[in-house]
Amino acid sequence: MSAQVTETAHGSLGLGVDDLLAMHRTMLTARLIDEAALRQNRMGRAPFVVPVSGHEGCQIGTAWPMRPGIDIWVPYYRDLGVVLVAGMTPEQIFLGLFSKASDPTSGGRQMPSHWSSRGLGIVSHSSPISTQVPHAAGIAYAMKYRNEDGVVASWFGEGATSEGDWHEGLNIASIHRLPVVFICENNEYAISVPQSKQMAVADVASRAEGYGIPGFVVDGNDVLACFRVMKEAHDRARAGEGPTLIECKTYRFLPHTSDDDDKSYRSREEVEERRHHDPIERFATYLVDGGITDRAALQTVHDEVKTQVESAIKAAWDAPDPDPATATRHVFAEDDP
């Protein structure tokens, strides 16, 4: 059931010019936050950073059809782009990066990039990989049970597909034809482990057949292709046709985290080559070539986002740290104030 999906003109997708520019701006916001976060890391102000660079196309593309306030987001740590679409602000991101008391994900308890916000419908995830996949199925079960119109989407890396929980979650979701979309951001590595040592197949999407659900491979660096395949999966989910497995082929430009040194496991030439498929630059070219915007306007966007990121950093940095006296709170509901 897996099929190749290639670039498509935005018109047929129902995306207007405003949508396209907003998508581009969000991708750029993710990228500039990433770069700023790494600068903060080098300055000694952010002990731990999880880079997103390279994944912006598949993240913004697959997140865009989701409806904030109705649908539920079940992301993983690399999904800075996803949570921006869900409504998290750059300042909130940096509150998390600096583990401030008002960090919306955990009040500075979890590592940065462990997204969560009940208000935004973003479900908290932990560090153990793939545990969120059955959660997504369970939320979708509750939606169906309650006759809601919602859709759940869960994102994960290709490494995550090796865990038992991944299998169990997909199996249960497909048995009940639940309104959930599973999105694999396949960047070919799980930290240092290459895909060839992670699985014996070329495509994660080839696993869909074993669950009786549609599986698609899409170019993850093509934001519009990602949008299209997600839009269709989202529609199927709402129509009661059950889950879809989407595999976005992409690449991470930077080390796994700020603690990683990727030189031991992949060549600089490989990384350099992949940078030529930058999803942001590709989308910018599409927008300019299609006459939707021009380079000068894009530069203005760049400058605006940069300013926004800088002021987010400043505001977040000045926010108060968590009070150690709160460390024992919220183990149980009755500990809550």
Binding site: H114, S116, V123, S124, P134, H135, G138, Y141, A333
Partner: protein, 329 residues
């Protein structure tokens, strides 16, 4: 009040909770047409439908993980693990996910859910249908662990567990299921989680226990009182986590002699925490060393009758002997 056995008390309470609140759903293997291997959900599928009584695939981590998702989105799932021995594939979902959801989100999300698991030995279940699992789970901050030993407590604690905003592991000792009978209130009487219960008053020594062993302790206490005039106080822990240290300490300070009895493997078992707590906080109130009786440190009860008996009920009755020795120390 109606007299029921323990498994009927659980069946009836779960039934009433499901009838009262359609957010309560049951998920587990064989809970549907089969009504559960111990018949806890007999008749439920016909009454509440397949949407609420969910026959799950053979995937414990998935069952608990899906229940977490349900709990995050407005349902009150009760996940049944067919035998407690099979809960371990879900250890990570319980430890890393259910128990930490509230803490790691600084109180933003929570997981109101119950995991039911029939545990314990003495029913000819061999190594993998006999295990005690409470020590592993009671050590996880963020999860509550209870084990009722009477039908009334089973009903009261299940009622409370379903209403609790946090995950509760609800352990049911299989040997008590049909063996233990007692009056159960006809309208639900919530039993608070985190409260031990003095099941028998006495003055000469304190015996702290729970589950099936509690009944063996009560039995020994009755015989000792009748035959030898020894008055043992028997405390039913009921809630392993949170542990009600106060009730235990009050009793121990009164009798000045303490004994802890549990079925699980002795070393690093739940009784260690109870004994340690007494040692730290009531040592100078004691007239004798703390006595701790746990199961042997072997995987679990073997199948062969003689081997199982060796584990479950060594002879002469070591509980009674230890109680007598402690009383006379």
């Amino acid at each position: 009040m109606t007299e029921k056995n323990l498994v009927t008390a659980i069946h009836d309470t779960l039934h009433d909770e499901m009838a009262a609140d359609d957010r309560v759903v049951l998920i587990g293997q064989d809970v549907g047409a089969r009504g559960g291997v111990f018949k806890v959900s007999e008749g439920f599928m016909a009454e509440f439908g397949e949407q609420r009584v969910i026959d799950a695939p053979l995937a414990e981590s998935g069952i608990v993980g899906v229940a977490i998702g349900m709990a995050l989105h407005g349902l009150l799932p009760v996940a049944e693990i067919e035998f407690a021995d099979f809960i371990h594939p879900a250890f990570d979902q319980i430890l890393s996910e259910a128990s930490r959801m509230r803490y790691r989100t600084n109180g933003d999300w929570g997981c109101p859910m119950v995991i039911r698991a029939p545990c314990g030995g003495g029913i000819h279940g061999a190594l993998y249908h006999s295990q005690s699992i409470e020590a592993f789970y009671a050590h996880i901050p963020g999860v509550k662990v209870v084990m009722p030993s009477t039908p009334a407590d089973a009903a009261g604690l299940l009622h409370t567990a379903i209403a609790d905003p946090d995950p509760v592991l609800f352990l049911e000792h299989k040997k008590c299921y049909r063996l233990i009978k007692g009056d159960v209130p006809d309208v639900p009487q919530p039993t608070p989680i985190g409260q031990a219960d003095v099941k028998r008053e006495g003055t000469d020594l304190t015996v702290v226990s729970y589950g099936y062993e509690l009944h063996r302790c009560l039995d020994a206490a009755a015989r000792l009182e009748q035959d030898e005039g020894i008055h043992a106080e028997v405390v039913d822990v009921r809630s392993l986590a949170p542990l009600d240290t106060e009730t235990i300490l009050v009793s121990v300070r009164k009798t000045a002699r303490a004994m802890v009895v549990y079925e699980d493997n002795r070393t690093y078992g739940a009784g260690a925490e109870i004994a340690a707590t007494i040692a730290e906080r009531a040592m100078f109130d004691l007239d004798a060393p703390i006595v701790r009786i746990g199961g042997p440190d072997i995987p679990a009860m073997p199948f062969a009758g003689a081997l199982e008996h060796y584990y479950m009920e060594p002879e002469p009755d070591h509980i009674l002997v230890a109680m007598r020795d402690l009383a006379h120390f």
